[in-house]
């Protein structure tokens, strides 16, 4: 059996540690040290006990047997050590030292144990051991082995190639090998690092830097129920390491993925603390239904991605093509696999990270000031009543006062965003982890905490998270290993209590509505009047209006075991039992607040008025959810005749879940001092409610890999999925995926001609995956109660039931037919890698309603039927370059993805003209009138067909069908939507001596947003609009005249005038770090210390201007994205 060296980067404890402890929270450290002591007390050689019973065998066979039964590996020169000597041994549960003492007693052989490596030398040549062969000349070679950051690597195996001669580096990474033949090659190997071979020639001092294996082609990727070497994988798979994700100072992991992986689009919708998850799309949109990818965390489906601590992540892998078929009915939109970190053998390694950051909106719209706003309201009044003149609402004296600020009481000029928002809000983030272990027991334990404050002054909106993770791996015996993962977190969201529309984000609608001619605060400091319903955002963003908290507790556990079947080599069974639990508790205690009004009195006395609620009220909502996943699979791996490698995996999985919800409400609290249910009035308003839901899945899946000499690669995956969603007898679906690869670089003709390629592989795949993210129980005719609605007879509130749907007894999955072609190349000593993919997906059986062709007189909504078809095709690629020049170490990587989808079939209403049809156009296309300018005067209005009642200053709609009438037939289907077609990222990682720098420049193109504000009497205008608007004096304006909410046809009717391109390029991320030099580290007794500054969304180039181009909705009425500046440190010891 192949032996492995274990990573042992941890340093021995040092007296200097004490200094560091002083700065730490002692209690946490001590607690964790206590655990680590228990786990790391014994080294492998001390803890391992072996039993051997062999009669009359060679010493060599004994050594082989020990290697087979344990992780020990022997290094010796067979020319010097007599291993052919015949011995008989009988040990029962002995330590290795005892065995070796016995074995070599009365010989010249001495042994040295370094972790799992045992070096056998001759007493006669204690200084080293000879590698002489054929009487060649020999030298002594020595040096030091370090990793790329300069940390010395102990335990690295240094072997003369082709022999058993070798040694391991000592605790300082030093080695010394005497008598090495001059033409020999030294092989430096270490688990997790790329093996290096160096021809020594006449050198006597060789220092070696080992690089992490994952950078090169030895990289292993997760593929679902197993892993695979990247070099022999045939699917379209990309991955990123946890390290990189830590560079973004965001509080939600999903937004860290933006721009990092080709084919993965992440669009942030909002940065509201605790509600800031990005929309994830793999290869754009593929269906008219749910486009969200499947998330698998440590093998378990549908766990939350956003709240995972980035420092806990080993890597994130994305399956983009038919390789996802292993996940069958939920894989059609791609799969994101998250693997969390696990312990590695070695001394306890403690890592502490601390970040303190500041955030602010990435962009807030510039709004009109009071004078401009008042002028525009005057214009509106004038347009609807021309005889009244230009000063019907405000006199020129008023406007003058708004402008000069001479009358702050009567004529305020308020910048609402300034009044409501802080310049910078706080966020911070702490992590603590400890990992290490022996070969029998390895552990990774972490604690994390994060906090993010909202943008508002005295914000009632913030997010806190506390999490822990404990990943433990154990080996019960040679054949049975177990893993136990336990992760938990508490998510605490504090949201705003909003009057009226109970959506915490609605404050941004209020802010846009806020009128500059109204005060946020009166000059005497009392809060000003409301916009409506008690909503003065300067007040309703604070906790004056009550508290609205959401507590979520999640516990995720997984116990797994792998059993190697002793009597069949290569056969193993793996089983998983996972139990996830989540509890949620919402509590909203809303109470009255007071706003002040001023009636114009000369004494400037303001009067409080109760707003929002008459009395306090409380609603509570609890839910209890659970998810059970059980799976087991067998894996069989075998090489036939050296060249035929076959690997088979087959298994089964079942998943069940359930959620119970309970809620209660009371109002008319006498006092707001106690916010508990009992204190509310037991009156007619008191209520409670409850509901539940459950699900079940059963699956059978498998994978067959075959390769010939690692040159011709073939993979077949399948899943037979059964889902509770479908009618009995139609619950199971079969989803196959097949892929093949050809490593042309392994062919001799290629090797001869194109040797600068280290690796070149072309690959292709085809598969069918399913999407069952559809409404459940569509096959059942059912009736339900209308929620929160009653019909009232006299004084009796009676429930209302309705027919929930017309059943579709044939409902089934959406099917994704996926084709992928791609290549992976590594060149120039693996410094340059290029990878590209073309894909063509045809999603069929999309559930859509045939209502477009069904008269509504039929009175029912047709059930969705599996008739829709969407094609989505595109390409993506990544080029990465890694090199070192002197002290400069750099990684450059550029990735880009393009995808365009088209509706191949859906239910088009008959008679719709071509230019209005959705068929043949992308998902999300919309009908717009074509804005072709502004009527500058009455002559222009008269000269062109126009909307009834159009007047100068209005937007000209194109008479598309040339019938001299502007009506619904003049609308044209526009192919762009808010989802970008092209996304890309450029990543730079530089390292120079102790400094490191990382940057992510990210961009998107091909999307647009409909940007129009609700303005007029109802609220303020964008300054951009106000400055460029048409007025009777400025008839050649680029923008139309001032409007009052939706009173103009060109506001009420969607038209292209308001579309803005959201193409952008931005410095998404920038980080600059400094690490202490190793000399200082040694002196301090630590392994690594690094401080850094980083930032998010620092700089943007775009033409969108008013709103952030990355945001998913154009109306600006949601919590914006954030810009973050952050400083942090990491300490490892």
């Amino acid at each position: 059996m192949k032996k492995m060296f274990r990573l042992m980067r941890g340093r021995q404890k040092n007296a200097h540690l004490r200094k560091i402890w002083m700065t730490m929270k002692l209690t946490i450290i001590l607690f964790f040290l206590a655990i680590s002591q228990i786990m790391a007390m014994e080294t492998y050689s001390q803890s391992t006990r072996l039993s051997l019973n062999l009669k009359s065998v060679a010493v060599k066979d004994v050594l082989d047997k020990i290697e087979e039964k344990s992780e020990f590996v022997f290094l010796y020169n067979s020319k010097l050590i007599n291993v052919d000597r015949t011995v008989s041994v009988d040990f029962e549960n002995q330590k290795i030292s005892e065995i070796l003492d016995k074995l070599f007693q009365k010989t010249d052989v001495v042994y040295t144990v370094v972790d799992r490596q045992i070096v056998l030398t001759n007493k006669a040549d204690q200084a080293g051991f000879l590698g002489l062969a054929n009487g060649q000349q020999a030298n002594k070679v020595s040096g030091k082995v370090t990793d790329v950051s300069g940390i010395s690597l102990p335990g690295v195996s240094v072997v003369v190639k082709g022999t058993n001669n070798g040694i391991v580096t000592d605790v300082n990474g030093l080695y010394s090998l005497p008598n090495v033949p001059t033409n020999a090659t030294l092989r430096f190997s270490f688990v997790g690092m790329k093996t290096q071979e160096i021809i020594i020639g006449s050198q006597t001092a060789i220092n070696v830097v080992l690089v992490d294996e994952s950078i090169g082609i030895e990289e292993v990727v997760a593929i679902g129920y197993g892993t695979q070497k990247k070099v022999t994988s045939t699917g379209s798979i990309v991955s990123t390491r946890g390290e990189q994700l830590k560079q973004s100072p965001t509080t939600n992991l999903t937004s860290n993925l933006i721009g990092r992986l080709p084919g993965l689009t992440a669009i942030t919708t909002s940065s509201e603390p605790g509600n800031d998850g990005a929309i994830l799309r793999i290869r754009g949109s593929n269906t008219l239904g749910d486009n969200s990818p499947l998330i698998i965390v440590d093998g378990i489906a549908n766990r939350a991605l956003g709240s995972i601590e980035p420092a806990d992540i080993e890597n994130i892998t994305v399956l983009k093509d038919a390789s996802a078929a292993i996940y069958g009915s939920q894989a059609a939109n791609g799969v994101i696999l998250v693997t969390t970190r696990r312990g590695l053998t070695g001394k306890p390694k403690i890592t502490i990270g601390m970040d303190a950051g500041f955030n602010q909106p990435s962009r807030i719209p510039k709004m009109s000031d009071a004078a401009q706003y008042a002028t525009m309201l005057n214009e509106n009044a004038y347009y609807s009543n021309p005889v009244g003149g230009r000063n019907q609402k405000f006199t020129s004296d008023d406007i003058q006062k708004f402008a000069d600020g001479s009358d702050p009481w009567g004529h305020p000029n308020t910048d609402w965003f300034k009044e409501v928002l802080k310049t910078w809000s706080n966020q911070n983030h702490e992590t603590f982890s400890i990992s290490g272990g022996t070969s029998d027991l390895k552990y990774f334990l972490s604690l994390g905490a994060r906090y993010e404050d909202g943008f508002y002054k005295n914000s009632a909106n913030n997010y806190k998270q506390y999490d822990f993770r404990s990943n433990i791996d154990g080996k019960i015996n040679k054949y049975i290993s177990i893993g136990f993962n336990l992760a938990g977190r508490e998510e605490l969201r504090s949201n705003l209590v909003r009057p009226g529309v109970d959506n915490p984000s609605s404050v941004w609608r209020s802010l846009l509505h806020s009128k500059p001619n109204m005060p946020a605060y009166w000059p005497d400091g009392t809060p000003g009047p409301d916009i409506e319903q008690g909503d003065n955002p300067a007040v309703t963003t604070t906790s004056v209006t009550g508290t609205n908290i959401n507590k979520t507790y999640v516990l995720e556990s997984n116990l797994n075991t792998t059993i190697l079947i002793p009597w069949v080599s290569g056969l193993s069974i793996t089983g998983n039992a996972s139990f996830d639990k989540s509890f949620e508790f919402d509590k909203k205690f809303a109470k009255p607040w007071y706003l002040y009004s001023w009636d114009g009195n000369a004494d400037h006395i303001t009067t409080p008025g109760k707003r929002g609620y008459d009395t306090p009220q409380l609603s509570e909502n609890m839910s209890d959810g659970q998810k059970i996943t059980l799976n087991a699979y067998v894996t069989y791996e075998k090489a036939f005749a050296e060249k035929h490698n076959i690997k088979v995996m087959a298994g089964t999985e079942r998943r069940t879940g359930k959620i119970d919800i309970f809620s209660a409400f009371r109002k008319n609290y006498i006092s707001s001092a106690i916010d508990q249910l009992f204190a509310g009035a037991a009156d007619q308003y008191m209520s409670n409610d409850g509901s539940a839901s459950e699900y079940a899945y059963l699956s059978y899946f498998g994978r067959v890999n075959y390769d010939f000499s690692k040159k011709y690669l073939l993979e077949f995956v399948w899943r037979e999925d059964g889902s509770y969603m479908f009618p009995q007898g139609k619950r199971f679906g079969f989803f196959p995926g097949i892929s093949a690869g050809w490593r042309i670089s392994e062919e001799s003709f290629w090797k001869n001609k194109l040797s600068f390629f280290n690796d070149f592989k072309i690959r292709g795949s085809w598969g069918q995956t399913g999407n069952d993210r559809i409404a459940e129980y569509q096959y059942l005719a059912s009736y339900a109660f209308l929620k929160d609605r009653v019909y009232v007879f006299g004084a009796t509130d009676s429930k209302i039931a309705f027919e929930t749907k017309v059943p579709n007894p044939n409902v089934t999955w959406e099917v994704a037919n996926q084709i992928n072609l791609g290549f992976d190349a590594n060149m120039l000593n693996n410094k340059l890698s290029v990878s590209a993919d073309y894909f063509n997906n045809l999603r069929t059986q999309i559930l859509i309603r045939r209502n477009a062709s069904i008269p509504s007189a039929a009175g029912f909504t047709l059930p969705p039927e599996n008739i829709g078809k969407v094609r989505n095709a595109g390409f993506e690629g990544v080029i990465a370059y890694h090199a070192k020049a002197g002290f400069l170490d750099f990684d450059l990587s550029i990735n880009g993805s393009y995808s365009k989808n088209e509706i191949v079939f859906w239910d088009e209403t008959p008679g719709v003209p071509d230019y209005q049809q959705s068929t043949g156009r992308p998902i999300g296309s919309s009908l717009y009138y074509q804005a072709i300018g502004i009527f500058k005067d009455q002559a222009a209005v008269d000269a062109y067909p126009h909307w009834a009642g159009a007047r100068p200053g209005d937007i000209i709609f194109k008479d598309v069908n040339n019938d001299k009438v502007i009506d619904g037939l003049d609308r044209v289907m526009d192919e762009k939507n808010s989802m970008p077609r092209f996304v890309g990222g450029f990543m730079i990682n530089l390292k120079y001596k102790q400094f490191d720098m990382a940057a992510l420049i990210q961009g998107a193109a091909g999307a647009q947003q409909y940007v129009v504000s609700e303005s007029g009497d109802v609220g303020n205008y964008y300054k951009d609009f106000a400055d460029k608007r048409w007025t009777p004096e400025n008839i050649n304006a680029a923008y139309p005249r001032s409007y009052n909410r939706a009173d103009q046809y060109w506001i009420g009717q969607a038209n292209t005038f308001w579309l803005r391109s959201t193409n952008y390029v931005r410095l998404k991320n920038f980080e600059l770090g400094y690490s202490l030099p190793s000399t200082l580290n040694n002196a301090l007794g630590i392994d690594h210390f690094r401080i850094y500054v980083n930032g998010l969304n620092l700089f943007t180039v775009d033409k969108c201007k008013v709103i952030d181009p990355e945001v998913a909705t154009g109306d600006g009425q949601s919590y914006p994205l954030q810009r973050v500046v952050n400083i942090g440190l990491t300490l490892t010891f």
């Binding site: 009543n385 009226g500 409506e532 319903q533 069949v568 056969l571 002040y596 009004s597 009636d599 114009g600 009067t607 409080p608 008025g609 008459d614 087991a632 067998v634 089964t652 007619q684 308003y685 509901s691 539940a692 839901s693 699900y695 059978y700 459940e776 129980y777 059942l780 059912s782 009736y783 609605r789 009653v790 019909y791 009232v792 006299g794 509130d797 009676s798 429930k799 209302i800 039931a801 309705f802 027919e803 017309v806 579709n808 477009a852 069904i854 008269p855 509504s856 007189a857 039929a858 009175g859 909504t861 047709l862 008679g911 719709v912 009642g949 619904g968 009052n1044 909410r1045 939706a1046 009717q1053």
Partner: protein
């Protein structure tokens, strides 16, 4: 071979251990929030909740934010939302403008093709299932009676909007032929009347006043249906201006037949209700000490009287968001932090007679000087106007107006500059953008005892009240030239309202005019006028530039701190004048008599014929 055997063995152990139950059984979950069809139709209690849904969908949302009154010459919708354009007759088969703003207009949105047919389907499902429900015959009969009525009510809305529509009585399934052509108007009316007759056969002789359909309600509804059917809009002798050039006039009205017979039927149907002796006007003859306005106000704030035939109740408990019903908040002036949604227009206010029965006249200097003096009592019960005392203002506003009197005017200095605007104007200090445009606010149905800022009122809406039956009867009599009989019934209404009887000399056209005036005043904001204007073919006169009231106080001060003097008196005598509501120049196109079938629906069903003008 042995290895393969081993693999298979282990695999089967796993599979078997996982599937102790049959796999499909393991996947047998049940929706925990829904009743299966079989469970549902076996429990009469559940069926009743289904019928409740039909009540809601048929009777609609009379207290919605946007009300029918703003689509006719009763009120102006402050927030526009496309209502103004609708009233300019600009709607098309692509866009019903304000009528179908999905997020805000449940009342009008419900009065369109698709939701009405959706309710038709509910009734059809009910009839296809009800016979299998096991319950007492009386329970089944009651439910049937209600659903027949609700189906008739729904079809009546459809015919009022579109003329003849496809009569569908089958609960379609996926495989049915779904293309139905329009039935004639006459067929539709016959069908509706037939449904009402079926309803009457199933309903018992009880007269619940809790909002359930009663026999009386069905009879009263029949009177309305027959009255509408006999009206000019559907009378081939009168409606040629609407049907001319249209190849299918039978879809819009009767093609021939005896109009006298139709009016007679309408008259008899009304008489049948009267003859029940079950209903009477509330305080039909005011007692000597009564304030008539008070009588009428309390009638509209009551939870049921002898006059009520079909009520629609509400509850303060349900939080129906802001698109549901909350008339107190929706209709209150901005000076009460209300939303001023549907504000009475000047034309309606001017139509209220003087107390002595004479017409109000702006050219009469005395009346112009004090326009709200000595008017029809119903004016005071329906309209809030300058200076009238209303419920106490909310805290912050109360400081500015401790008298809680409506303020829709402005205080001017000598130079003609506004130095103080009323709290309930669009220049007021409180939510000015929520201020009404007309200078009037709605009082009818608004409960002053409730602080609408925080509490929803639950006053029921009166779908049918006895006064309508009396006036329906009178209208039929007029059309049958039985003028004296008509006058006596109109006078019952006038007596209750404290107005003098109609002159006995009033006959023919003049009487018809007086009758239509009486109906407008009596039923203002009760969802009658929108239909009356159409069936009487008077769209031309009802849709024109609307007017508002301009109220001015002029003071010699250069600035004032409050709208009224500290002692409560005004700064001067108010000066009233009637001016235009800006932007509300309504215009009538005869196509508006019927709604368009939407282009989409026409495309989906080639058997449909579009109404004229679209």
């Amino acid at each position: 071979m042995k290895k393969i055997f081993n693999i298979l063995m282990i695999a089967s152990i796993i599979v078997i251990s996982f599937s102790c139950k049959k796999s499909d059984e393991f996947l047998n979950t049940k929706p925990l929030g829904e009743y299966s069809e079989i469970d549902f139709w076996s429990e009469p209690g559940l069926v009743e909740t289904y019928v409740n849904g039909m009540y809601r969908n048929a009777l609609g949302f009379p207290f919605a934010l946007e009300r029918l009154s703003s689509y006719v010459d009763e009120s102006h919708f402050t927030h526009d939302w496309g209502v103004t354009d609708f009233n300019k007759s600009l709607f098309t088969s692509d866009d019903l403008l304000g009528w179908s703003v999905s997020w805000a207009t449940p009342q009008t949105l419900n009065l369109t093709w698709a939701p009405l047919y959706s309710n038709v389907r509910s009734t059809n499902i009910f009839f296809s299932k009800i016979n299998s429900v096991k319950a007492d015959k009386s329970t089944i009969d009651k439910l049937k009676g209600e659903v027949y009525f609700l189906r008739a009510w729904t079809y009546f809305n459809l015919t009022n909007l579109y003329g003849g529509v496809p009569i569908i009585t089958k609960a379609y399934t996926l495989n049915d032929d779904l293309l139905a052509s329009r039935n004639t108007y006459e067929e539709c009316i016959n069908f509706i009347v037939g449904q009402i007759d079926s309803s009457l056969m199933n309903l018992s002789d009880t007269y619940p006043t809790d909002g359930h359909i009663s026999k009386g309600a069905a009879m009263a509804f029949k009177s309305r249906v027959l009255l509408y059917a006999a009206s000019d809009l559907h009378n081939p002798a009168k409606n040629s201006s609407v049907t001319s050039g249209f190849s299918n006039p039978e879809l819009l009205g009767y093609k021939s037949g005896d109009v006298t017979a139709r009016w007679t039927a309408a008259k008899n149907a009304a008489k049948a209700v009267i003859d029940l002796g079950k209903y009477s006007l509330y305080k039909a003859v005011p007692a000597s000490g009564d304030s008539v306005a008070q009588n009428i106000s309390e009638f509209f704030l009551s939870y049921g009287t002898s006059e009520d035939i079909l009520l629609h109740f509400f509850t303060p408990k349900v939080n129906e968001d802001w698109d549901g019903y909350n008339p107190g908040l929706f209709e209150s002036p901005n000076g009460y932090h209300g939303w001023s949604c549907n504000t009475p227009i000047g034309e309606l206010v001017d139509d209220y007679e003087m107390k002595d029965g004479s017409k109000f006249d702006w050219n009469n200097p005395t009346e112009k000087e004090n326009p709200y003096n000595k008017r029809d009592a119903r004016f005071y019960a329906t309209i809030l106007y300058e200076g009238v005392k209303w419920r106490d203002r909310p805290g912050d506003a109360l400081v500015m107006d401790p008298y809680s009197k409506i303020q829709v005017g402005h205080v001017f200095d000598q130079a003609g500059n506004i130095i103080k605007s009323g709290l309930d104007t669009r220049q007021g200090p409180i939510e000015d953008w929520n201020g009404g445009y007309t200078g009037y606010y709605l009082r009818k149905y608004i409960d002053p005892s409730v602080n609408a800022l925080y509490v929803k009122q639950d006053i029921p809406f009166k779908h049918i009240r006895y006064a309508e039956i009396l006036l329906n009867y009178a209208e039929a009599c007029i059309e049958l030239n039985q003028d004296a009989e008509a006058r006596s019934y109109i006078n019952m209404i006038r007596t209750r309202a404290g107005q003098p009887n109609l002159s006995a000399s009033l006959t023919g056209d003049a009487l018809r005019k007086a009758y239509r005036h009486e109906r407008r005043i009596e039923f203002a904001f009760e969802d009658h006028r929108f239909w009356d204007v159409r069936r009487w073919l008077i769209g031309n006169t009802a849709y024109s530039q609307t007017s508002k009231i301009d109220v001015r106080y002029v003071t010699s001060n250069t600035s004032v701190t409050s709208y009224r003097q500290p002692n409560g008196s005004t700064w001067s005598k108010p000066v009233f004048s009637k001016i235009d509501v800006p932007g509300d120049a309504r215009a009538w196109d005869k196509k508006m008599y019927f709604f368009p079938i939407m282009r989409d629906e026409m495309n989906k069903n080639n058997k449909l014929i579009q109404n004229p003008g679209y």
